[in-house]
C-alpha cells in the first residue's frame, strides 16, 4: 500500500510539472504580450517586461516560477487589478468556491443515494421510472439551463431565495448555486446506486442470506448497501470534477465572487498570469481529488489495491 501511494504521489508531481510546462509554453505562443496598450513605446514595454522578469530566457522563468510558486508567490495580476499579487486576489474568493462546491457535493451525494436506493429497491415499478427519469434529466440538462430555471422561478418570480450571491447572507444566497451544482453528482450517484443495487440483489449471497431468513432491514443494510456504498466512491470522484468545472458556469450565472468567475474574467481580459495560476489551481485540485479517491478506494476495497498496486 505504501508503495502504491508513493507511486501515485510521484505521478501527481510529474503531472503537475508537465501541466506547468504546458501552461508556460502556451503563454509563450499566446498572441501579444499582456501589455499591448498602444500608447506604450517599445522601450517602455521592454522596461515593464524586464520588471516582471519577462525578458529572461524560457527555462529560467520556468524554474523561477516553480520556486516562487512553492513559496506561495503566484506573481501579480496584469489587467484585472494592476500589480495586485494573485495570492491576495484569491484569498477571499477561494473559500467561497470551496464552500459552494462542498455544499453541492454533500447535497448531491445524499440526494443521489436516496434516489438510487428508492429506484433500486423498487425495480421496474413506478418509483423506479420516476427516479430514473429524474436522473437522466440531471445528466442531460446543462448546469446553466438548470441555473436559469432556478434563478428565474425560485429567485425572480416567486422571490423565495436570492438569485444573486451576496456576502452578507452567504448561506441563503449560496443555496441556489449549490443546488445547481448538485445536479450532476446527484444524477450520477443515483444512476450508479440503482444499477449496483439491482446487480447485488441478483447475487448468490443475497439468495443465501434470504434463505437463511435474514430479516429485511438487516439484509438491506448489511448485505446490499454495504456492498453498494463502497462503489459509490468511484462515482463521486468524477462528480467532484464535474462540480469543479461546473463552478465556472454557476459562479457566472449567479454572480458568485469565487475563483471560477475570476477565471472567466481573466480569460476575457487576457490576464494571462491569473488565467494560468487558476488553471494550475484547478489542475492541482483535480489531481488531489483523484489521488484521495484512489487511495481511499484502495483502503476500502483490498481487491483494487492488489490489481492496481502491482
Amino acid at each position: 500500500m505504501k508503495k502504491y501511494v508513493l507511486k501515485r504521489l510521484l505521478m501527481a508531481v510529474v503531472t503537475l510539472l508537465v501541466v506547468l510546462l504546458l501552461l508556460f509554453t502556451l503563454m509563450e505562443i499566446m498572441p501579444g504580450s499582456p501589455f499591448n496598450n498602444p500608447e506604450l513605446t517599445p522601450e517602455q514595454r521592454a522596461k515593464i517586461e524586464a520588471r516582471y522578469g519577462l525578458d529572461q530566457p524560457f527555462f529560467n522563468r520556468y524554474i523561477n516560477y516553480i520556486v516562487n510558486m512553492v513559496q506561495g508567490d503566484f506573481g501579480v495580476s496584469y489587467n484585472i487589478q494592476q500589480n495586485m499579487p494573485i495570492a491576495d486576489l484569491l484569498v477571499k474568493r477561494f473559500p467561497v468556491t470551496i464552500r459552494i462546491g462542498l455544499q453541492a457535493i454533500v447535497i448531491g451525494v445524499l440526494m443521489g443515494l436516496v434516489m438510487g436506493i428508492l429506484a433500486g429497491f423498487n425495480h421496474n415499478k413506478l418509483m423506479d421510472s420516476i427516479m430514473s427519469a429524474l436522473a437522466i434529466i440531471g445528466v442531460s440538462m446543462p448546469a446553466f439551463a438548470f441555473a436559469l430555471l432556478l434563478a428565474y422561478f425560485v429567485g425572480f418570480k416567486w422571490q423565495m431565495l436570492p438569485f444573486l450571491y451576496s456576502a452578507k447572507s452567504p448561506f441563503l444566497s449560496s443555496i441556489l448555486p449549490s443546488l445547481t451544482l448538485a445536479m450532476s453528482p446527484m444524477a450520477s450517484v443515483a444512476r450508479y446506486t440503482r444499477s449496483e443495487i439491482i446487480d447485488v440483489m441478483n447475487q448468490n449471497y443475497i439468495t443465501l442470506a434470504k434463505t437463511k431468513g435474514v430479516s429485511k432491514p438487516a439484509l438491506t443494510i448489511r448485505h446490499v448497501l454495504r456492498n453498494v456504498l463502497t462503489g459509490v466512491i468511484t462515482v463521486i470522484a468524477p462528480s467532484v470534477v464535474n462540480v469543479l468545472t461546473g463552478s465556472l458556469v454557476v459562479e457566472k450565472a449567479f454572480s458568485v465572487p469565487g475563483i471560477g468567475g475570476l477565471l472567466i474574467t481573466a480569460i476575457q481580459e487576457n490576464d494571462y498570469n491569473v488565467t494560468f495560476t487558476l488553471a494550475f489551481i484547478y489542475c492541482a485540485l483535480y489531481i488531489l481529488v483523484m489521488l484521495t479517491v484512489d487511495i481511499l478506494y484502495g483502503l476500502i476495497d483490498p481487491r483494487i489495491r492488489v490489481t492496481k498496486g502491482e
Binding site: 446543462p142 425572480f156 468545472t245 484547478y282
Partner: protein, 339 residues
C-alpha cells in the same frame, strides 16, 4: 430380419436422408434476424429509445430545413423589431404565444401584424427561431466532427496500445495518465485562447480531450479479445498484426465504438455550449446553441424566452442522445444491459 429386407427394398426416393435440402434446416420459430435487424428491433422495443430517436430526427430535420424556410436570416439585424415576444400561428388563437406582452400586442404596436417570430426576436431584432436552428446545425456539426476525430485518434491509439502491450502500452498509458491529470475544460480553454477562434479550433479542442475515453474502451476490448482462439488461429496462419487488427479485432470492437460514439456526441455538444457560455464560442454573427444561451442569459429576467428556447432545444438534444446511447448499449451489448 424382416425389417432388414424391407430396408433393402426401399426405393432411392424413400432412402433419402431427412434434412437433405438446406432449407429443411431453417428454424421457423426463431427465424432469421440478422445482427443489425436484431439491434434495430431491440432498439424500438424500448419506448424511451424510440421516442428519443424520433425527437432527434425532428431536431435534425428542423436544423436542416427551418432556416431555409424561414423568411428571416440568422444575421439580419432589424433595429425596429427588437425583443419581440413569441408569436406562433394557430397557438395565438388559444391566447398563448400571441405576441402580446403585459396585454399589449407588440406586433400591432410596431405595425407588423403580418409577421410571425415563432421564438420572438433578440435585442438586435434577429429572429430567434432561425438563429436557434442555425445554432443547432452548428452545434451538431461541431459535436459530430469532434467525435469523429475522437474515434479516429482513440481507436488507433487504443488498438495499438492494447494489441502490442508491453513497453509500448506502458508508455502510452503513462501519457494518457498525465493527460487525464488535467481537467478537460482547462485544456480546451487554453487551446482556444492560444488559437484563432472558429469551428475547426473548437472541434480540435474538443477532440484533444475526447479521444482518451474512446482509446481506453477500445484498449480494454482489444486486451479482452486478443487472447481469443480465433486470433491465435489467425496468427498461426501467418496473419500480420495489421490484418488481425483490422479484420478480426476492429469488427468485434465496433459495438463498443458505436456506443461510446453515441455518448460522446452529447458530451461534445455540452462542452461546446459550456465554452460558448464562458465566452469562447463561435465568433459572431454565427450562432451555436451555446452562444445563443450566453446572449439570452443577459436579459433572462426580462425576456426569458430568449434563453429558454435555445436551452430547451439543447436539453432535448442532449437528453435524446443520452437515451439513445442507453438504448443502443442495451441492444448491442446485452451483457452491459443496465437492467
Amino acid at each position: 430380419m424382416k425389417d432388414m429386407q424391407n430396408v433393402q427394398h426401399l426405393t432411392e426416393e424413400e432412402r433419402r436422408l431427412v434434412g437433405y435440402n438446406a432449407d429443411e434446416f431453417v428454424d421457423e420459430n426463431f427465424s432469421g434476424h440478422s445482427y443489425v435487424k436484431e439491434i434495430i428491433l431491440t432498439l424500438f422495443a424500448n419506448k424511451a429509445t424510440a421516442i428519443s430517436l424520433i425527437c432527434l430526427l425532428v431536431i435534425v430535420l428542423f436544423a436542416i430545413f427551418a432556416p431555409m424556410l424561414s423568411p428571416y436570416t440568422y444575421k439580419e439585424i432589424n433595429s425596429k423589431t427588437t425583443n419581440m415576444p413569441m408569436r406562433i400561428p394557430v397557438l395565438e388563437d388559444l391566447g398563448i404565444f400571441d405576441g402580446t406582452r403585459k396585454g399589449v400586442d407588440m406586433y400591432a404596436k410596431k405595425g407588423i401584424e403580418d409577421q410571425y417570430h415563432y421564438f420572438g426576436t433578440d435585442n438586435l431584432g434577429r429572429d430567434i427561431w432561425t438563429r436557434v436552428w442555425v445554432g443547432t446545425r452548428i452545434s451538431l456539426l461541431i459535436a459530430v466532427l469532434a467525435v469523429v476525430l475522437d474515434v479516429v485518434i482513440g481507436v488507433t491509439y487504443g488498438m495499438v496500445a492494447g494489441f502490442f502491450g508491453g513497453k509500448i502500452d506502458m508508455i502510452m498509458q503513462r501519457l494518457i495518465e498525465i493527460l487525464t491529470g488535467i481537467p478537460n475544460l482547462i485544456i480546451m480553454m487554453l487551446l482556444l485562447l492560444a488559437m484563432e477562434p472558429g469551428i475547426p479550433t473548437i472541434c480540435l479542442a474538443l477532440a484533444i480531450t475526447g479521444w482518451v475515453n474512446m482509446s481506453r474502451i477500445v484498449r480494454a476490448q482489444v486486451l479482452k479479445l486478443k487472447s481469443n482462439e480465433y486470433v491465435l488461429a489467425s496468427r498461426t496462419l501467418g496473419a500480420s498484426p495489421k490484418r488481425i487488427l483490422l479484420k478480426h479485432l476492429l469488427p468485434n470492437t465496433m459495438g463498443q465504438i458505436i456506443i461510446t460514439f453515441m455518448f460522446s456526441v452529447p458530451h461534445a455538444i455540452f462542452f461546446e455550449a459550456f465554452l460558448a457560455f464562458i465566452g469562447l464560442g463561435v465568433p459572431i454573427p454565427m450562432a451555436s446553441l451555446g452562444t445563443l444561451i450566453n446572449d439570452g442569459y443577459r436579459s433572462a429576467m426580462l425576456y426569458p424566452y430568449q434563453v429558454l428556447c435555445p436551452a430547451a432545444v439543447l436539453s432535448v438534444l442532449m437528453l435524446s442522445f443520452n437515451l439513445l446511447g442507453d438504448g443502443l448499449r442495451d441492444a448491442i451489448d446485452p451483457q452491459m444491459r443496465s437492467m
